[in-house]
């Protein structure tokens, strides 16, 4: 135990030294995002609300998607989109973080993981702020008394999928950051992949709509996407308070947690193996 402690000691000391930088970088990302825009931080709130309205209009009226399974469709959409949006912005920002900070990395020593880490954390803060949209939209429906959302104390369970998504984003972000230093075109490929992920994750549709038999190979493949389980459990905690146990998927919770931790370990391993070479390629 003491040996393990001793091995981690320099890393912890180094982290403590640069924790101020981490905070500065997170602050900077958030501050600069909306600088020079009239509405400022309010965009964090407005952007998901407007996308929700567009998507809800398209899928409810044009495709007629809302059904009894999804419950309140706008809230159903919003839950999925917010989590998906967090994952994509966090991983994309982490991916480009090393390249963006090239000028700094070339001249000052800073532990390099600070950059992807700050990118993920600043996306996380933005995500937490954007959750207020969810609160407002649910309050709107519940006050109106029609299409109410069954929110109970179980809503605290959202912490679990949120934290898993955070760990997952950091892991995937570090993998992508490493790869994109050596291969720039990964950034373009990832955009396409994100689009695919949007449709592979039940964001606009309910999985039952796909007419896959329970236990079928197609459904299993679909569930391998960690966002499937994360979005599903997030919704279970927000939308179906009284039927929580039927909707919350324990197996997927363990699976997504294991997946996220595996990604984090791979991410750190890959990053540490290659970080000394970054400077030669950026």
């Amino acid at each position: 135990m003491n040996r393990i402690k001793a091995a981690f000691r320099p890393h912890i000391d180094n982290f403590m030294k640069y924790r101020f930088l981490l905070k500065e970088l997170v602050d900077k990302d958030i501050k600069l995002q909306y600088r020079n825009s009239v509405l400022g931080m309010f965009w964090t709130f407005l952007q998901p609300l407007l996308t929700m309205i567009v998507l809800a209009f398209v899928f409810m009226n044009v495709f007629g998607r809302g059904n009894s399974k999804t419950g309140n469709y706008p809230v159903y959409l919003l839950c999925g989109r917010l989590l998906y949006q967090f994952y994509t912005t966090a991983t994309k920002r982490a991916m480009t973080s090393i390249r963006r900070q090239a000028s700094m990395i070339k001249k000052v020593y800073v532990p390099k993981y600070i950059y992807p880490l700050s990118a993920v954390l600043s996306s996380f803060v933005t995500f937490l702020i954007s959750l207020s949209v969810l609160v407002v939209v649910i309050a709107f429906f519940n006050l109106r008394g029609k299409d109410t959302v069954d929110v109970t104390w179980r809503v605290i369970y959202t912490i679990i999928p949120i934290l898993i998504t955070l760990v997952l984003s950091l892991g995937v972000g570090m993998i992508l950051a490493t790869i994109s230093v050596f291969f720039k075109d990964v950034e373009n490929l990832y955009d396409v992949f994100m689009l695919l992920l949007f449709y592979l994750t039940p964001i606009v549709y309910h999985p039952s709509r796909l007419n896959f038999v329970e236990g079928s190979i197609q459904l299993r493949v679909l569930k391998m996407n960690p966002l499937y389980g994360l979005v599903g459990n997030f919704r279970a905690a927000v939308m179906w308070g009284h039927e929580f146990t039927q909707n919350w998927d324990m197996v997927l919770m363990y699976y997504t947690a294991a997946f996220a931790v595996a990604m984090l370990l791979i991410g750190f391993w890959l990053f540490y193996r290659n970080q000394d070479k970054f400077i030669l390629h950026i």
Partner: protein, 247 residues
């Protein structure tokens, strides 16, 4: 606490230069399949060892491409040596390029805190030095304007003010600082002198033996990545002048 500020132990630095500069996956895999990936090995530093006592001021002399900048970067921790190790003690202020840690969308004020954080200083600590930094940089009201509107002189003045006001233990200087106008240059030299009399360790890279002799008490010569002379400033400078004349 040891008595050395910098210890370089058999430091070697190798660069693999990719001739074609492949930086995307598509090209990489095409070339991999065609066995068309070529790397050129280049040793920028070869087995460099030296120790620098606290408070010593070392001048690093050498012709272009001798590995001076690479050496400074390994000591600043920016580059990790391929072989050997570098050990440093205390806060290092690498003045390789002033204002390297700035964000151009940020205002001068915000950049003061950001820059100091890259050196490991907290917001609270810098808050106390803040007025002094702004006054020294002579930026006045511009401190609240975004850095991207600054001239290069303004940027380096601010960078210099931050890097020296935190009282670093080790200063890494690349060439003489030609910051700002004559008056500011004089002011910055006075500040460097006061840091030196407080016992800061200096590593100073230059082509000019005059500048080295003015600032340093120790000197070394690098030639093609190798350390060929290391010792008392006057002796090494004499040797270097001899080398220059025979070139």
């Amino acid at each position: 606490m040891g008595k050395y500020a910098i210890e370089a132990d058999h430091v070697s630095m190798r660069f693999n230069i990719n001739k074609e500069g492949v930086d995307n996956a598509k090209e990489y895999f095409i070339r991999l399949v065609k066995h068309d990936l070529h790397y050129v090995e280049f040793w920028a530093l070869k087995d460099v060892s030296f120790k620098l006592k606290k408070g010593d001021r070392m001048g690093v002399l050498g012709f272009n491409g001798a590995g001076k900048s690479t050496l400074l970067k390994t000591i600043a921790g920016v580059l990790k040596p391929t072989q050997g190790s570098v050990h440093t003690e205390g806060v290092i202020a690498p003045m390789l390029e002033l204002g390297a840690g700035f964000d151009s969308n940020y205002s001068g004020r915000e950049n003061v805190f950001l820059y100091a954080a890259t050196m490991g200083f907290s917001r609270k600590f810098i808050q106390e030095k803040y007025d002094e930094i702004v006054e020294f940089s002579e930026l006045g009201d511009f401190i609240d304007a975004p850095i991207k509107s600054y001239s290069s002189g303004m940027r380096s003045r601010l960078g210099f003010a931050i890097a020296t006001s935190v009282k670093p233990e080790v200063l890494i200087l690349d060439e003489v600082l030609s910051v700002g106008d004559a008056a500011f240059r004089e002011k910055s030299e006075r500040r460097l002198e006061s840091l030196m009399s407080d016992g800061v360790t200096v590593l100073f890279v230059s082509h000019s033996t005059d500048n080295v002799e003015r600032i340093c008490n120790k000197a070394m010569i690098l030639t093609q990545g190798q350390l060929v002379a290391n010792g008392d400033c006057a002796d090494v400078c004499a040797l270097y002048r001899h080398m220059v004349n025979n070139k």
